[in-house]
Symmetry: C3
Subunit: 366 residues, 3 copies
């Protein structure tokens, strides 16, 4: 990992803390003399160089502080009090080091974002009826269809296509090669990664009396709230009649599939490779682990955590954590156990029959 | 959901029924006086407005008729006969309301499709050897390589790439950002959604004696029948020597992966996130639930239904429904049960040993 | 499968064997008189025509030799010695027929690749700071951002986007519509299929005290070794602070998802639809079956095979094969067994209680 910024562009520690203060983070610099140190990047405790800031979030890594080469380290007051000696690095005290790391990382990324090209590339094809606010960036080979609206400060990467009547809020970031179909609404500050497809047809067919399937045209759209992130190659289908709805602050990882008319509640986070079948409602503040699958037409209440790989085949009416993944084993061991699974109901019968005999035996003896 | 059409563009109820008649749907309008009602869109029973048509397909929703605001409702004769009183909406009687809804939805979608841009966009790069029939639409930034053939009435969305020697039938709809590699054949009336990749190399390698892998170049192609729909970000690999084959009327949802030399029989429908490994044959009229996985080199006969999430690891020789998903539970409950799974073969041994003791005991007593 | 080359362009059998000799493959042509036969393509034993070469790799298919129409067949010495009579086809003897087939297939594919367009398409947008070596091919509508470096002989298909500061080695083949984000390194001879996204943000968020999630900007990159193949619509996320790392000779199938800071060791092959969560290290020469999922922060040693569909939820410290997929069954049968799974820990208790009674009973009798 190279140092991120040249010394000339790098902020001093106190400038960085000032930026964080504007974000509502009130951190304490233990040694005021360290205020002028230049911070050129961020690194983990083990890999940060003497020009970088680091952080201790996981108490189990506390030993790594002893050999840490960083210029400064963010830690809690409790960890600071336990330091055996005055360290070589400057200490920044804040009760949520992981949150503070997130915001410092954002600072460094924003300095990169600020250097990106601006304006509307001459190769983009923009329908005259589209409304683009000031400060919109449109990359090469983008296509903006009729009646599209794009809010101020929003960036579209190269080759992104926005279908007719779609609306994107302000300060959104669409990476290259994103597809929005027609009538898709995306809120402010959205981040949509490359290859994502929003608003493709839901999977709806009626059996045809002459054999085969009659397509049910998907007339609904997709409505996505503010502060949503959508991962690479994730797909969100449009609704059949009403919209598919993604709440505010929802975070979707890569290669997720949300079927038509799915609802995802505010601030729910879904890890990669999850599939949610049509018309299922997932509550607010849920966390869905990677590669889980959720059947269609279910209701999952708020504050549910679903472990990775779990197949959710019925509604969940109570907050809490749910799991269902089959334990793996060495192949031979697994073969023995897997074979028994196919006999489970037989096994239960045999057990019951033994129990009955034992009861009979007891009665006889009484 | 907004009303779809302005009143001026909307059809009357009798005009809509006339269109359906052309499609072979003979529906009965109970009250002839309703013939002139303008139908501006479709809605569900609960959400349709007074300008929209609705339908009752699921008998369990019959109660929703009482508060339905729609201009007209499609229902079966049996439901109509059970109506407690003359409703405020016009009644259209047809024995398959869901099929009729499908075709009405198609009507409204076609009115949208008719308004899309026509012709070959000046930015498209088309090899001089390509043959494009009349009425083909090619969107901005499409690339059509050498010797491609595209049939009449077919539309290519922006940024779609068609590899050399590929052939697309008539009246197909390829959405933006689709990839067809070389030598891929697609039949008439295909619908291919954004991000789909057809004809990428199958995953074939021979272990190399010096370590690592020697690539097996994939020389086959892909042959896709008529009336096939392929979902967003779905991938279908080209064959190793012979073609991968998708039958007529096959419907594939999003993010499906079909390996090299897979065959899918006519009218089979596969839900999202399914993976089918190389050289497996799936029969006709099968239904594969979401997130199922099918191992390679298997044969699955016609008319098989596979439940969502099932891992199909051996051939299926008999029509019927097959399942294999592990039930989920509250995390603690699951932990108890999951722990036992790793001991199943032991458990069976313990049960057998008890059974033997019981038998011995009986013999002694005889 | 059509014959691949016109007779005029086709090599003779002896020319083909000469090419293989250059690749280190010393095969024996049994009948020298066959040296001048023209080889226009490759086919399977059952489908090869009289202008094609075939091979016998799986001894179980030996019977197919009797009706094989091919011009020549590659086989082992042992198979050759067992031929009942002099066959109609020429015999090529080599101890690894599958490897030889791989290289013959490469020969035929290279003849196709050689006919592809060359040079930098006039529509491509290339930042003046990018460094393109000689013989680089850039397809239509590609975008090459600032400070990119591309090595000699590398091909970029149409619509591919390379982010700033990314580096691609020599003789790589990126198919149409690939996304590389900024600061992604790809080695020599890479093959990257359509729709792949390399370097999108890892899924990292810190819980925000005011509710919702603070994004952790992903400042690391992706480093990919030499001779790597990456399948269609596969995604590899960039690291949080350090790079995500893919070793030399790694083969990734379609629709794989590798999270941030994943490491994959040299020559490991991963089949389609696999997800690997963040920070997991997979060793060298591993084979991961399709649709397996691997949790985050695990270590898997070298030479591990994971069966398709297995959920790997803990580290693997010993080479060998591991499995964990739940057996499927006819739906009714499955229902019976699945119901028992939720009672497994109860069942074990009941078994234990019977065992105790039996022990008590024995003691009494002693």
């Amino acid at each position: 990992m190279p140092v991120l910024l040249e010394a000339a562009q790098a902020p001093t520690l106190i400038e960085l803390l000032g930026y964080l203060q504007q974000q509502g983070i009130q951190a304490r610099l233990v040694d005021e003399a360290a205020a002028a140190i230049k911070i050129q990047g961020i690194g983990s405790l083990q890999q940060a160089s003497a020009q970088e800031i680091s952080f201790l979030s996981n108490p189990q890594l506390q030993d790594q502080l002893l050999s840490c080469q960083a210029a400064a380290v963010i830690m809690t007051e409790a960890v600071y009090q336990q330091l055996p000696a005055t360290p070589d690095f400057a200490v920044v005290v804040f009760e949520q080091p992981y949150l503070m790391y997130a915001l410092v990382a954002q600072w460094f990324d924003q300095s990169r974002l600020a250097s990106l090209p601006q304006g509307i590339h001459s190769s983009a094809i923009i329908d005259p009826s589209a409304q683009l606010a000031d400060g919109v960036h449109i990359g090469p080979f983008c296509v903006i269809e009729a009646h599209v609206q794009i809010g101020a400060g929003t960036r579209l990467g190269a080759g992104t296509v926005i279908g007719a009547h779609s609306v994107i809020g302000t300060n959104a970031l669409l990476h290259p090669r994103v597809s929005l179909y027609h009538q898709v609404q995306v809120g402010d500050r959205a981040i949509i990664h490359s290859g994502a497809v929003i608003g493709a047809d839901g999977f709806g067919f009626a059996p045809h009396p002459h054999g085969g399937w009659a397509k049910i045209a998907q007339l609904g759209g997709v409505t996505i709230g503010h502060d949503v992130e959508i991962g690479a190659n994730t797909t969100i289908d449009r609704g059949a009649l009403n919209d598919t709805v993604i709440g505010n602050g929802v975070k979707l990882d890569n290669q997720i599939m949300l079927g038509h008319n799915v609802h995802v509640g505010d601030h729910t986070a879904i890890a990669a490779c999850v599939g949610v079948a049509g018309s299922t409602h997932i509550g607010a503040r849920c966390i869905v682990g990677g590669a889980a699958m959720v059947s269609g037409h279910l209701h999952i209440v708020d504050d549910v955590q679903i472990s990775g790989g779990t197949a959710v085949t019925s509604s969940i009416t109570k907050a809490g954590r749910y799991s269902g993944v089959y334990p793996f084993a060495e192949h031979k061991q697994w073969q023995y156990n897997a074979a028994v699974i196919s006999q489970l109901s037989q096994l239960r019968k045999r057990l019951r029959s033994l129990e009955r005999e034992a009861e009979l035996h007891k009665k006889k003896q009484e």
